[in-house]
């Protein structure tokens, strides 16, 4: 009897402990611990996410005899997450793909269709989300777009039905989305984390269902050294955030949500893994004049059409992994040094963009002595091919220094160090010393760019020489605004010429550095010769720029032109100016500036009623440029009116910004159950980037 009682006592205690554990474990179990409990069975794989509230769902096929079923969690009811921003919950099972290393993800395909007219691209991006799991999900995908993309259209497709998303103040859009998610409606939300990084959320995708999201944007093409350049970024590189920061863009291993500690987090596939997500891309170019030459060093492409009319370029079906920027360059016939204007008029008035070319005589003038400061990013993300490319470019540049120049080499990762206490004169012996120092540099550690900024800009300026600071970086940091503010504070008379190095450069950072440093930017891809870009760079800085530029718009009656401060014009590098106008007919625009101390005037005829120069995207391009101008100002100016202005412009023109978002709810498609499990779309690290040195496990 005693024995039986003891057994009963033991059973009661065990039951109590089991009950307690059943309640406590889900909350105490960290994501990684839960993920570790993920098990394979019966041709299905189960994935657990951070909040383990949803019951595990059985696979649709019966478990075969002898197979083992592991229940991840089985709470009594699936409560909603307290924080509406918190991911939904549950455990997922997905049919295993055919390939062993393929990870099921809720993003199946991205289709990109671009049409280029003049120097403006109209781009349609369709993201095909689906649910390969056995229970309802919310898909979250962090993806890049060009820094100057004016995103003004958002359509969600549910079955055959297409629902146009609505631009709203960001917090309001988020509230609507999370309420719709909570109530089980199919909904989507697009938010902007950086001008070139966006988050797409799609709620309540039922098993086996597909929901497409279509995003449309306009962007202006870069033009440099005779070539137009169309860029479509495909992946956000793994970024470093300074210790203690939480507002950056973090990098975490797939299934390690929260590992980076940042408010926005990209999950990366582990080495050897790949997802079923692929990309297709096509570009149609109507240049208006014959296309003489074309190159794409990043991807395999196929061409069709007539280069004298419309040329079509497509990504080869053999090159569909979205792990690097797509970069297409083309050259048009004739000398394109004539400044050109595109216009559009609607109920709001007239809008224009003008590509302002530098005066041809710049190329015949020589520069004054320079103080070249090379700042090399030696962080872990640069390890391997990227740092070798950057070193090769600096080596090439060192050898091109002229007597009278001086130079310094600064490296930074967790901290910064440099070749000498002060810049060295460019003697043959010093250049050899510099080359030896350069050879010793390797990539490892964090990206404390602020240390590099301080080292490059915080020492006394040599009044005899023009200081040119050249950053060589992939830009993989999450604290861009802090860097911009530091540059603004220190820039003085220095110029910044950034070199973006790698396959998926953070162009927002490198272009922002050049913008604040009144310089320019160039890119060195992994498949390109750094020497070629350095030659072009030297060609640019070997001649004085046209500075102190002001524009007399004449009878165009221009208002709100951007950038408000016209950047200097360098050889081979035009500047795009955009604004609003009221005039009509013909006008003569006069651009005044200084070239080597002399006053220069460029006269540009403008035909404001030229129908062939109309482009419907100009208003969006203008509004996006105004937002960018205000946003750069906001990085070093805490005027509370700036965010208000940005939001106002974005709402009026239906554009994405830091303060606005697109939301779409299908009020006719309500799904049963909770809000489903939140599944992040893991992405590959960019080509040439080492996972081991960049991603938090």
């Amino acid at each position: 009897m005693k024995l039986k009682r003891r057994i009963m006592i033991g059973l009661v205690v065990l039951v109590g402990v089991a009950v307690l554990a059943g309640f406590l474990l889900p909350s105490l179990c960290s994501y990684r611990e839960c993920a570790r409990r993920t098990q394979f069975f019966g041709g299905y794989v189960s994935y657990a996410s951070r909040n383990q509230w949803e019951p595990a769902i059985s696979p649709p096929n019966a478990i075969a005899p002898g197979e083992e079923l592991w229940i991840i969690e089985r709470p009594s009811a699936p409560p909603e997450p307290a924080d509406p921003n918190a991911p939904g919950s549950g455990a997922l099972m997905a049919k295993l793909p055919d390939q062993d290393n393929e990870v099921p993800v809720p993003l199946k395909h991205t289709a990109v269709q671009a049409f280029i007219s003049g120097y403006i691209a109209t781009v349609d991006v369709t993201q095909q989300f689906h649910n390969p799991y056995s229970s309802k999900i919310e898909a979250v995908y962090i993806f890049p777009l060009p820094t100057n993309a004016a995103v003004n259209e958002f359509i969600m497709t549910v079955g055959e039905r297409r629902i146009r998303g609505i631009i709203r103040e960001r917090q309001e859009a988020e509230r609507i989305y999370y309420e719709a998610r909570r109530q089980g409606y199919v909904a989507s939300l697009l938010t902007q984390e950086r001008p070139n990084v966006f988050t797409q959320r799609v709620a309540n995708i039922e098993p086996g269902k597909q929901i497409d999201v279509n995003i449309k944007y306009f962007s202006t093409l870069e033009y440099a050294d005779g070539w137009y350049e169309f860029v479509f970024p495909m992946v956000v590189g793994p970024r470093f955030n300074p210790p203690g920061s939480t507002g950056g863009i973090g990098a975490a291993a797939r299934g390690s949500a929260g590992a980076s500690g940042q408010s926005t987090e990209v999950q990366y596939l582990k080495p050897g893994e790949r997802s079923g997500h692929n990309i297709s891309l096509s570009v149609q170019i109507a240049a208006g004049v014959p296309i003489e030459d074309m190159e794409c060093t990043t991807h395999a492409i196929t061409k069709s059409g007539d280069p004298r009319e419309v040329l079509a370029v497509s990504l080869s079906p053999l090159d569909t992994i979205p792990n690097k920027d797509f970069v297409l360059r083309y050259k048009v016939a004739g000398k394109t040094t004539k400044s050109s204007m595109l216009t559009c008029r609607d109920a709001r008035g007239g809008f224009f963009t003008m590509m302002l070319y530098p005066p041809a005589e710049l190329a015949s003038l020589r520069r004054s002595p320079m103080e070249m400061i090379f700042v090399l990013d030696c962080s872990g993300s640069m390890s391997g091919v990227p740092i070798e490319k950057a070193k090769s470019a600096i080596e090439h540049a060192l050898k091109k220094l002229e007597p009278g120049d001086s130079f310094q080499i600064i490296r930074f990762s967790n901290n910064a160090s440099q070749l000498g206490r002060a810049p060295l004169t460019a003697t043959a012996a010093n250049v050899r010393k510099g080359l030896a120092y350069l050879k010793s540099l390797e990539g490892e550690g964090g990206t404390m760019m602020i240390e590099g900024i301080k080292a490059a800009l915080d020492f006394p300026h040599d009044p005899q020489r023009l200081r040119v600071v050249s950053f060589m970086t992939d830009g993989f940091i999450g604290n861009e605004d802090e860097i911009f503010a530091a540059v603004q504070q220190r820039i003085g008379a220095s110029r910044i010429f950034s070199f973006g190095v790698g396959s998926s450069v953070n162009r927002y950072l490198v272009e922002g550095l050049a913008r604040m440093g009144r310089g320019a930017v160039a890119y060195v891809g992994l498949d390109e010769s750094g020497g070629k870009q350095v030659d072009l760079f030297y060609d640019r800085i070997s001649h004085p720029a046209m500075t102190d530029i002001t524009i007399d718009w004449g009878t165009m009656d221009v208002a709100d032109a951007y950038p408000r401060r016209i950047p200097d014009l360098f050889v081979g590098r035009p500047v795009i100016v955009t604004g609003r106008f009221n005039g009509s007919g013909n006008a003569m625009v006069k651009v005044r500036g200084k070239v080597a101390g002399r006053d220069e005037v460029l006269a540009i005829p403008a035909v404001l009623d030229d129908v062939s120069a109309e482009h419907k995207g100009i208003a969006a391009v203008w509004a996006r440029t105004k937002i960018a101008d205000l946003a750069y100002q906001a990085t070093h100016d805490d005027n509370p009116e700036l965010p208000v202005q940005i939001k106002q412009v974005a709402l009026d023109y239906g554009l994405m910004s830091d303060y606005t978002a697109f939301v779409a709810v299908d009020s006719l498609t309500r799904t049963a159950g909770g809000s489903g499990t939140t599944v992040h779309v893991p992405v590959p690290v960019p080509e040439g980037v080492k996972y081991e040195t960049t991603v938090a496990e």
Binding site: V12, A180, Q183, S667, L668
Partner: protein
């Protein structure tokens, strides 16, 4: 085999033995801790429900119909507004939000192929709390008579009444045509 029972169960007595106290103490502690843990880890109930358990905000669709009689409809522009009904015009004690909490959350196209694509909305007007929608079609086949030209998805509280005003309807040659417009509740699928 006969099921063994505790004496207290048989007799209805609640005499607890010394070790029995320990058992109940452990069990009670476990359940209490479990309850506390559950309370701590469970999120609060939905914030957007009113006192009667109904959703304080709901999502619904409003259909917009245009009747162009015998004229083919090629373009249209309308303004949609929401008016309160008499019972929920911001009375604080109803727990229902005032009528002006109607928010457009999506715009879908109509039933005819010519207007299948989602119409455009005027973002500047929306920023000033006006919903103005428009669409045009360059197709050869255009609708005549009464046709649904748009379905507007909204987040709403209370029981607003939707009104729609035709700004303009036009034929393929760009000329204004006579038409009527009406709003109705969208069908759930």
């Amino acid at each position: 085999m006969a099921e063994e029972r505790w004496p207290a169960d048989i007799k209805g007595e609640h005499k607890v033995r010394p070790y029995g106290k320990a058992v109940f103490a452990v069990l009670a502690a476990c359940l209490l801790a479990a309850g506390m843990a559950r309370a701590a880890t469970s999120p609060p109930g939905p914030l957007s429900k009113n006192g009667e358990g109904e959703e304080a905000v709901r999502f619904e669709a409003v259909d917009v119909f245009i009747d162009s009689k015998d004229r083919p409809l090629a373009a249209w522009q309308i303004e949609l507004t929401a008016k309160p009904d008499r019972t929920d015009t911001g009375r604080a004690d109803t727990g229902v939000r005032p009528y002006n909490d109607v928010k457009i959350v999506g715009v879908e196209g109509g039933e005819h192929a010519a207007f299948k694509e989602p119409p455009y909305y005027d973002p500047a007007a929306l920023n000033r709390n006006r919903v103005i929608l428009a669409a045009f079609s360059t197709g050869q086949t255009l609708p005549t008579g009464r046709t649904r030209v748009a379905r507007v998805h909204v987040q709403a509280s209370g029981t607003p009444q939707y009104e729609v005003k035709l700004i303009v309807a036009a034929s393929a040659d760009g000329k204004e045509i006579q038409a009527t417009v009406a709003a109705g509740q969208g069908d759930e699928q």
